[in-house]
Symmetry: C2
Subunit: 255 residues, 2 copies
Amino acid sequence: MRILLTNDDGVYAPGLAALYQSLSARHQVTVVAPESEQSAVGHAITLADPIRVRPLRPRSGLTGWAVRGTPADCVKLGLNELMPRPPELVVSGINLGANVGVNVLYSGTVSAATEAAILGLPGLAVSLDTHQPQADFSFAARFIAHLVERLPLPGQPPLVPLNVNVPALPPDQIRGVRFCRQSRARLVEEFIPRQDPRGNTYYWLGGETLGSEGGPETDFVALAQGYITITPIRHDLTHEAALSAMKSFTLELPE
Amino acid sequence: MRILLTNDDGVYAPGLAALYQSLSARHQVTVVAPESEQSAVGHAITLADPIRVRPLRPRSGLTGWAVRGTPADCVKLGLNELMPRPPELVVSGINLGANVGVNVLYSGTVSAATEAAILGLPGLAVSLDTHQPQADFSFAARFIAHLVERLPLPGQPPLVPLNVNVPALPPDQIRGVRFCRQSRARLVEEFIPRQDPRGNTYYWLGGETLGSEGGPETDFVALAQGYITITPIRHDLTHEAALSAMKSFTLELPE
């Protein structure tokens, strides 16, 4: 299969290298990934700036391109311009840090898989639940190669992308795979004010994840319990229940 | 009411000034908006860089702060640090250009309203359906002041943000208000390759909106027909139908 591989940690991140290695054994993998870290860019695309692209050097061990843009840019550009034949699957990751709960909204990793769906391709986003840069991505990479062979999963509409989170545990401690909903776990933000040498104030956004709202069927809880979580993702943001409830109301125009 | 006013076109955009004027007549409006244009940043937040903030000068005619960050940063920072008393409503806009169909995902304007909901506040995103910088925002601004008096609308859960699009028509040609779902209208991208003076290739992302998929009940179609559209927005990206269909499948771990 032709796979476009991207991420949001940047083209030289070890999580991407691990996926490249595990997927290239059986697939034709082309990297189209951001040149530098793009974490928390969400579904940003680059309109106001030109997007630079350079081919990866053979010594990088990767085939493909580094892009001065966001993960969504990479998917669009890979599909429309760079790859001689369009990919059959977009894989994004392995992200350093889980993408569960509200983090899914901020995640460049997940947005690449969503962008694939918008463009008519199956997509897969993968994250490892640790912030240790020395993390071992090998089991997660092996799991994704295993998952790719089984796509689409029974019941999965082919254009519904999957958001996969893998616990950072030794393989024999991983309890299995759970299909989960996105929890409402949110960040508790804390802004840390600092002064620059000229006395101007600036802020750093700090934050940590709050406990989950919702039960064991959420990504947040199942991941913490040692399960690999898989959440199917939608990109239609309509709140169906609210729309049904509001539809019969007539709002007049102002005078 | 205490209103936090933000946008993604930047603090000096005329769409923001129009809303400031129409809302300040009856409300205490505080601007917390990006210093420069942030279009298509989606739900990006700033983690890897410090966020600079400066108070707006009185001669700007606005009260509040300019923030070197994204619309979502502005909402977080306004609520957590800048405003002495927390806002009761977040209004984002008026954006130059409609936010319908898949554009909703890329939109910094909409993400500010979504961020409000995440933080427990009602939110409203407003866009005018034109790309003419000389556009007349006054009717749209008047409509939003009228809408704010009526929040929450009958049937609207208070924490479900609304995405409002207003046609760029003379007021007497606007046909009414429609509650609509997000259409699947997507962009057809075109990348325009250029060469820099040193022979390196770069790309501009061009693109135009494709015709709508879906009927007259979508934002895309109703807006084009001359209606103001209101779409309630969700930030749980779980694809419910796919999850139900997949849940009974057991995926084994790899060997």
